[in-house]
Amino acid sequence: MTSVDTTAPEIETTVARNDRWLRNLLVALVLVGLVLRLVALGERALHHDESLDAWFSQRFYEGTYDGYDPVYHGPLRFYLTAGLYWFFGLSVASARLISVFAGTALIALPWFLRRQLGTIGTAMVAAILCFSPSFLYFSRFAREDALFACLSLTFVVVLFAHLDRPRTSTLAVLLLTLVAAWAVKESVFLLVMVVGSYLLVELAIELFDRSHLRIPPQAIVLVLAAASILAFALGEPIMVNLGWWGALLLGTVAVALLTARRAGGSFGATEIGAATLAPGWRGWVGALSAAATVFVVLFTVWLTNWAGSDTESTPHNAVIDGLVGGWDYWRSQQDVNRGGEPWFYYLFTIPAYEYVTVFLAGIGVVSELRGSTRIGRFALWSTVVSLGAYSYAGERMPWLVLHPLLPAVLLAGIGAQYLWTHRKSALAGSAAMLVVLGAVATGIAGFRVNYVDGEEPRELLSQAGQASPELAATVARLYRLDQIVQSEQGRPLKVLIDSADSAAWPYVFYVRDLADVLYADLGSATVDPTTDVVIVVDRNASAVAPAVAGWDATRQLHREWWVPSYTEGGVSGWLSWLTHRELWGDDEVGGVGETVYVSPDVTALETRAENRLASDRPSG
C-alpha cells in the first residue's frame, strides 16, 4: 500500500509533464502544418479532378447542384467548399482550403491516441502527418482525400475511445463520423471492411484467449492474413472473393465463440462485445436515428432534392442512391482499372516518398511481433488489409496513397515508441541515425514535390490529369484578352474550347467569369467565324486547321503524365529517379497537347494594348 501511495503521484506528474510537452509540440506542429499547407496554395495549376470538385462546389454555392452522383463522389465536400467560397470568394486557393483544414486537423488527432501510442509514438505520428510529402501534397489538393483521411482517423480515435469507455455518445459520434465519411467518398466501404475485419479478428483473439485453445494473437492474425490472400488469389469476381473472405472471418469468430463458450465465455464478456452491448437498445436506436437523419439531410441536398440527381449511376431517389449508388458504381468500376497502374503500384509509390514512415513502420512490425498491443494489431492489420484492398481494387491513383499510408503512419509511431523504449540497445543509435537521414531526404522530396515541381509529371504524386503551368498562364491571358476586347469593342471575348480528351477541364472552373465560352468536340464541331480564341487538342488540330489558318498559334501541353515501367528501372533507374527525377529505358512523359489560336483581330488588339503601355515616364 505504501509504495502505491508514493509512486502514484509521481507517475501522474510524469504523465502530466509528458502530456504538456506533447501538447505544446502538437500545437507547434499544427501551426507549422497550417503554414506549410497555405504557402502558395493557389499557385499550382488545377488538376483535372480538382477542377471538377471546385466546379461542383461552385454549383452548390450558386444553387444549381443536382445532388449526389457517385461518379464525382459524395456531396459533403461540395457543401464545405461552398461554405468556404461564401467566406473567401471563388478561387483556386479557396477550392483547396477544405483539404488544408482537414490535413491540418489530421495532425492534431494523434493526441487522442497518446495513451495507446505513447508520447514519442504520438509525436512521431503527428510529425509524419505534418511533413509527409504525400499528406502535404494532398492537403493542398482540391480533392476529398485529405478530408477522408481526417474522417478515417477521427473514426479510429472515436472507436478506441468507445472500446475504452463505451457510451451512447461515443457510439453516436462514431456513426456520425461514418456517415460524414460516406458522404465524402465511397472509400468508406473499404474503411468499414478494414476496421470491421479488424474487430472480428480482435474478437476472435479475445474469444480464443478465453477458450482452452490459447492461440497466440500473432498466429491468428498471420493465419487469417494468409487465408485472406489465398481467398483473393482465387481470381474470382471481386464479390465472390469478398464473400469468401467474409465467410472466413465470420467462421473463425464462430469457432472462437464456440470454444470460448465451452470454457464459460460469451460474446458479452469480451471487450468488443461489452462495447457493442453497453449503449443498450435505446442507445443504438438513438445513435442510429441521429446518423440516419444526418445521412438523409446530406444526400437530399439539405432536404431540398428527394428525387436524386437522376443520372445513369443514380437511378433511384436521393436516399436510395446514397445508400447503394456508391457501392454499385464502385463495383462497376472494378474492371476499368482507371489509370492503368499495376497491382504493386503502392509498393513503389509509398517508398518513393515516405522513407521515414516505411522504415519506422518496419520497426513497428518488429515491435508488434515481439509484444502485441491492440493499437499495434490494429495498425498492422489495417496497413496490410488497406494495402491489399487498394492494390486489389480496380483504380490505383496517387491520391489513394493516403488510405494505406494512414495506418502505416500509426505503425511508424509504434516503431518510434519502440525505438525510444529500447534506446539503450546497440541498434537503436543506428536506427535513429537512419530516421534522421530519412527525415532529411523526406523533407527534400516533400519540398520539391510541393513547392517546386508540383506540376512535374516525373513526380509520382502529380500524375494523371495535372494541368501544365502553361495552361494556367493561358487562362490569365484569356482574362487579359477579354479585358482588352471588352474595352475596345464593348463585347466579351468569344472562346471555343475543345472538349475532346476531357480537355474542357480544368478550363470550366478557370474561365467561370468569362461571359462567352463554348465547349465542343472540335473533331466534329465547326468553328464559328466570329470566335476570338480557339483551344484545340492535338488530335483535332487538323479538323480546325482551315478555320484558324493565319491565326496566332501557341502550342502548349494541356496535361502531362508518366506511367513508369516500375520493374524495368532496376536499382540504378530508381536511384537516378530519386536523385534527379530522371526516367529510365524507354520510359517517357506522355501528355495531351493543345494549341491556343487567337484570331488576327484580337491579336492585333492585344499588340496594340501592349504597345499602348509604352512608358511616358520621363527618363532619368
Partner: protein
Amino acid sequence: MTLVTAAFLLSCVVVGVGFTGHLPVALRLEERLPIGAVVGAMAVTLVALGTIAVFGFSGPTVMLAVMVAAGLSMPGLLRVAPSVRAEYADFRVRLRRGWRDPSSPMPLLVLCGVTWPLTVRILSLAYQPSPSGGIAAGHLSTFGDWQAHLAYAGNFAYRSDVHLGTPLAAGEDFAYHFGVDLFAALTVPTGASLHAALQITSGYLAFALVPVLYLFGRRLFARRSVAVLGSVLFLSAGGWGFTRFLDDVAAVPAGSFSDRFRQVLWNQPRDYTRDFDTYWMDNPVLGHLYPQRPTLVGFAVVLFTLAILWAARESGERGAFLWAGVVVGFTPLFHTFGWGTALVMGVLWAVTDRFWIAEGRRWLWFLVPAVVLAVPAVAWLVPPDPDGTFRWAWGWVTDGTPLGLVGFWFDNTGLFPLLFAVALLWRGATSRRLAVALAPIWLWFVGVHLAVPHPWEGNNAKYAIFWWMLGAFAVAALLAAVVDRVALSGRTGVVALGGFGVGLVVVSLTAAGGLDLFKAVDGTLPAYPAEVASPGEVLVGEWVRESTADDAVFVTASSSASQPVATLGGRAVVTAFDGWVFDLGLDWNGRRQASIDILAGAPTAGGLIERYGVDYVVIGPRELAAGASTDHWDRSGTLVYDFGQYRIYRP
C-alpha cells in the same frame, strides 16, 4: 492574402503588445491582444511614414519600418513577456471554468465567433469581377467611400516618395486622416493588391474592434452580459426603419405572411437605416465602420482609452494616464474625431476629478501628451478654410421643433435616446459615478443640433455616432437590470412579460440595422454589385501607374466616384469626384469648372493647365459627356494613350 501579408499583420500585433508592456494596468489576454493590434498598426504606420520619407516607398522600407517599430517596442515586449505567459495560462484556466463563471471569456468568444466570420463575408464581397471584365463594388461603402480610400492608399503604394498632397485635388494638402490608408498601402509590397489591401486591413482592425467593444463594456459596467449586449446593440443598431420592411412585406400581392416575409427578406428592395431623407444615422457597421475606415482605429482608441482612464482613476497610476495620453496624441492622423472624443471625454473626466487640486493633477499626464503630440497633425489636418464651412444651424437636418427633433431621433434610433437617459438616471442600471462619467457624451448629441462643422450636414452623424456607441452599453445595462429585477420577482407571469418586453425592445433597437446587415452579408443588395471600374478604366489605371511620373497631374471628369486615374493609378487629378472634394472643404466647383474648361479646350485652358500643373488630359466616356473635345486635343496635344474608349494627351 499572402503569408507575407499575414506575417506583417502578426508583426503589428507583436509590436503593439510590446507597447502595452508600458501600461501599468493589469490586462487580460483578450484585452492585451486587441489593444496591441490597434496600437501596433498605428506604431508601424507612423514609423513607416518616416522610413518612406527617407528611403522611399518599397518592400524593404516597409520591412525596415516593422523592424524599427519592433525595436521601439522591444523594452516593453521584454517587460510584458512573463505577463503574457501568465495571462495565457489564466485565459486557459478561465476558459475551463464554464461560461457561467464571471471570469469566463466564453461570451467574448461567442461574440467573436459570430462577428468575425460575418466580417470576412462582408469584406469578401467588397470587390468582385464585373460581368464586363472590370471591377464591381459589392456595397455602397466600396462603391463610394472606398474609392476615395483607394486613391489615398494608392497615393502611397504607387509612388516612390511620401506625397502629403491629396490625390483628389492636385496641389492641396492631404487634409485627411490618412493613417489607416497608409497602413493599407504598407501591405501592398507584401503581396496584396490595392483593393485587397483595403479589405485585409479593414478585416484586421474590425477583428480587433469587437473585443475592444467587449472590454469597454466589461471594464466600465463589470458585467459580461452588458459587454455582449452593448456590443450587439451598437453593431446592429438602427431606428424605426424596420417598419418600412413590414410595409414592403405587406405590399407583396400574394402569399402567406411567412412566404411574403421570406420573399422580402431575401430580396430587400431598399435600405432601412439610410435614405438621407428620414434616416441619416445609418447602421454603425454599414454607415461608419465599413465605408469610413478611419473609424476602425478611432472607435477602438476611444473605447480602450476610456477603459484605461477608468482603471487609472481607481489606481491613480500616472503611467496609465501617460500611456493613454500618448496613444490619443498619435490618433489624429488616424481618426481626428476619435482623437477629439477621447480628449474631450478625458478633459471632462478631469474636470469631474477637479484636476486643479493636487490629487487631480495626475490628469495632466494624460492631457498634455494628448494635446501636444496631436498639435502638428491637427494643424496639418485643419481644412484650408474652416470658417467657410463651419456654420451654426439649430436642429441639424430637422425642422428644429421639439416634435421634429423627437420624431427624427425616434426614426433614426428608436427608443434609444429615452433608454439611454433612463439608464443614466436610474441607479439600478448605472452607478452614480458611471452615470456622471458617461453623461458628457450627451454633449455630442446636443452639439450636432447646434452647428454643422463640415460642408455636408450629413457628416454630423460622425459626431453623434460616439453618443450612440457609448450609450449602447448604458442601454444594455438598463435592460440587464430590468431582466435582473424581473427574474428576482420569481413570478412566472412577470418573468414572461418582462422577458418579452425586453426582447421586444432589443428587437426594435436592432431590427432595422439587422436587416441592412443581412443584405450586406447575403450579398443581395438592391443596386449591388455595381461596376466601379470598366475594363477600359482598369487598363487606363494600369498605364497611369506604370507609365507616368509619380508627381504627374491629370485632368478627368468629376461626375463619378469611378476614377481610374486617382483610384487605380495612384496619381493626382485636378479634381476627383465632386462629392469628395466638396466634403474636404475645397473649392470643388472652381476645380470642376476648370476641369471642364481644360477638357473642352476653352480659351482659358492654357492658363488653367499652368495653374494646376496639368501633365495629362484624359478623355473617356465621362469626359465626353462633360463636354471634352477630342478635336481640340488632337490638334493641340500629344496623344500618348489610345485604347478602347480612352485617349490620354499631353498638353
